[in-house]
């Protein structure tokens, strides 16, 4: 974060002066080559071949029947009368809803935890380890675990909620078979599973904030909240953008939790777009349609990321 453009330009010039001694330098290419090879094979080529597939009625099990259909797979996604229209936009909307639930929770909760744990309290490492621990479990395990905790009969949540009368007369909602309760269940499971990861990153950033700033603020009579909003948050800005971005990407990839907890239900109410594309590709064997969906999703994703950067990085030009 500390670098300004000026500094970077200076360093850039310095590097240039080292390297321009030779006419053409192969060394940089040798450095980037190993990564570039894999990138070309598993990112570049699939990107292009995916574009090609998206213009075919493509089924990798019966390649002899593949036929060129032009933009048909794309227009289907915008044709309200097509089979794919409802399925696709429903799932995309669901992924959007999940992001609205999970991204704020996965930024705010880890941030608060990081602030709490950014101390020299004896035993802090144990707390950190505990909060990080769920992340080592597989998605299949955490989903079954939380399915069980949220189930209507004998699930921990409902048994204690009923005992404490939290949900009043009507009793607790059906966490796994009604909306929006199902989203809450999925979000809670996801937050529990992954919050330790974001916390560790934020904790690292917190530890780089110089103590003198807080001391000065204390002398100026600032209280704890003021210090948090005036010092901590502004100095965390760039790390927060980083955390928000990777959380958005991770949330966009929602797949296992909804599949295993709610079976994407009720009535496809929690079916994420990732599952829709997987289903088109590997259950319906319509890989052309799956590819077209992927590209529409990619476009939207790029737009979201761009807006994210525009919103959060307005004044920050060092990137």
């Amino acid at each position: 974060m500390a670098k300004t453009i000026q500094e970077r330009e200076q360093t850039g010039e310095a590097v240039a002066s080292v390297n321009t001694r030779r006419r053409f330098n192969f060394t940089p290419y040798l450095f980037i080559l190993p990564h570039l090879i894999f990138f070309a094979i598993f990112v570049g080529y699939p990107f292009v071949s995916g574009l090609v597939y998206s213009t075919f009625q493509y089924n990798f099990l019966t390649p002899e029947n593949n036929t060129f259909v032009g933009l048909n797979n794309y227009t289907n996604l915008f044709n309200t009368k097509s089979r794919e229209f409802d399925l696709f936009w429903n799932s995309l909307g669901n992924t959007g809803i999940f992001m609205l639930y999970s991204v704020p929770a996965l930024v705010i909760i880890p941030l608060l935890l990081a602030v709490l744990l950014n101390t020299k309290l004896p035993g802090r490492n144990i707390f950190r380890a505990i909060i990080f621990a769920p992340w080592v479990l597989s998605v299949s395990v955490i989903s079954l675990l939380w399915f069980w905790i949220f189930q209507s009969n004998g699930g921990l949540v409902n048994v204690y909620a009923k005992a404490l009368g939290i949900f009043g007369e009507d009793g607790p909602p059906r966490w796994l078979s009604t909306l929006p309760a199902a989203w809450i269940a999925i979000t809670v499971a996801t937050v529990w599973w992954t919050m330790g990861f974001n916390m560790i990153i934020l904790l690292a950033a917190l530890q780089d904030i110089p103590e003198q700033l807080y001391e000065a603020a204390t002398i100026d009579g600032a209280n704890t909240l003021q210090k948090f909003f005036r010092i901590t948050l502004p100095l965390l800005q760039s790390v927060l953008v980083f955390v928000i971005t990777i959380t958005i990407i991770a949330s966009f990839n929602l797949f296992g939790q909804s599949l295993f907890m709610t079976n994407n239900g009720p009535s496809r109410g929690t079916e994420p777009v990732m599952y829709r594309i997987y289903d088109e590709g590997f259950n319906r064997n319509a890989q052309g349609s799956a590819a077209a969906m992927s590209f529409v999703v990619a476009l939207i994703m790029i737009l979201v990321s761009y807006l994210n950067f525009r919103i959060f990085r307005k004044r920050d030009t060092s990137y």
Partner: protein
């Protein structure tokens, strides 16, 4: 080494700093942390207790935390059943995650160093291209990559899981950010002493990047460790599969074998948790000093 990365404030502070707090405030802080820790731990405790419950005590009208007759049957079934090779799944997961992590660190730090420190034709375009793909959803590559891995004959092979993981751009992006924070002077001095670019990278930049490497290592390892969909599509033989897929098959096609599944989860989680607890001081410290700067 007195540089901007290593020289950190001696004391760690925040709005909730330890020093200068009263006992009362400290007690409150402990209380809050303990409550949070208990909330986080409850599901894991529940997981363990479920794994030692006999089948007819899994479902009761009232919550029964400790089973009336605890049993290790689920563990015995799990270990003794040759069609659920949980040890193989565990070693596969560890092996794949370790290889992916090692290779990602090597490949990405090399590339990142070039993007951060060298001037070459096409650098900025290439890097922009990489950055662009960072925001593409992974599902975009699902079908095409499956066909490529298939065509390369890497399906049902560890390599089919490992190699595509090396194409990721996150690591390159992450390491480049770090290399840019290292002061130039050290490398220039090495150059003047006659070190070539690789030697400079190897003996100056890389040692300085240890914290960042550790962070990227943890992220990569756990990413690979938890990956579900891709290994499901690639690994066919039961003995080659990884834990997330293997554990799925402890459930019946129609029936849910909760006890067995939870026993599997415990077996899978305990070694990694122990490893984490042993290494966690190092991991947190490394992440802390890696200076993730967005």
């Amino acid at each position: 080494m007195a540089n901007s990365v290593q020289a950190r404030p001696a004391a760690r502070n925040s709005a909730f700093s330890y020093r200068g707090r009263t006992y009362f405030q400290r007690a409150i802080l402990y209380l809050i942390l303990t409550i949070i820790a208990i909330i986080v731990l409850i599901p894991m405790v529940w997981m363990f207790l479920t794994s030692i419950k006999p089948k007819n005590q899994l479902f009761t009208k009232d919550i029964q935390w400790w089973p009336a007759t605890p049993t290790l049957d689920n563990y015995k079934t799990l270990i003794n059943n040759p069609s659920t090779p949980i040890i193989s799944w565990f070693t596969n997961s560890i092996l794949i995650a370790l290889i992916v992590t090692g290779l990602v660190l090597a490949v990405d730090s090399l590339a990142a160093y070039a993007y951060a420190r060298m001037d070459f034709f096409g650098r900025d375009v290439l890097f922009k291209l990489l950055l662009f793909t960072l925001f593409l959803p992974g599902v975009l590559f699902l079908v095409p990559n499956f066909l490529i891995v298939n065509a390369l004959g890497l399906r049902n092979n560890y390599l089919g899981v490992i190699l595509p993981a090396l194409a990721g751009v996150f690591g390159v992006f992450f390491m480049r950010q770090f290399f840019e924070t290292i002061p130039k002077e050290l490398e220039e001095a090495a150059h003047i002493d006659g070190a070539n670019t690789f030697q400079t990278f190897w003996s100056i930049a890389l040692p300085l990047a240890k914290p960042a490497l550790a962070t990227l290592g943890v992220i990569t390892f756990l990413g690979s460790w938890n990956d579900f969909l891709w290994p499901l599509l690639i690994l066919q033989d039961r003995s080659l599969q990884t834990l997330p897929i293997g554990l799925r098959s402890l459930q019946g096609s129609y029936t849910s074998e909760y006890g067995l599944m939870m026993a599997g989860a415990v077996v899978a989680a305990v070694p990694v948790l122990l490893l984490y607890i042993v290494l966690q001081r190092f991991i947190v410290a490394s992440v802390a000093s890696s200076g993730i700067k967005g």
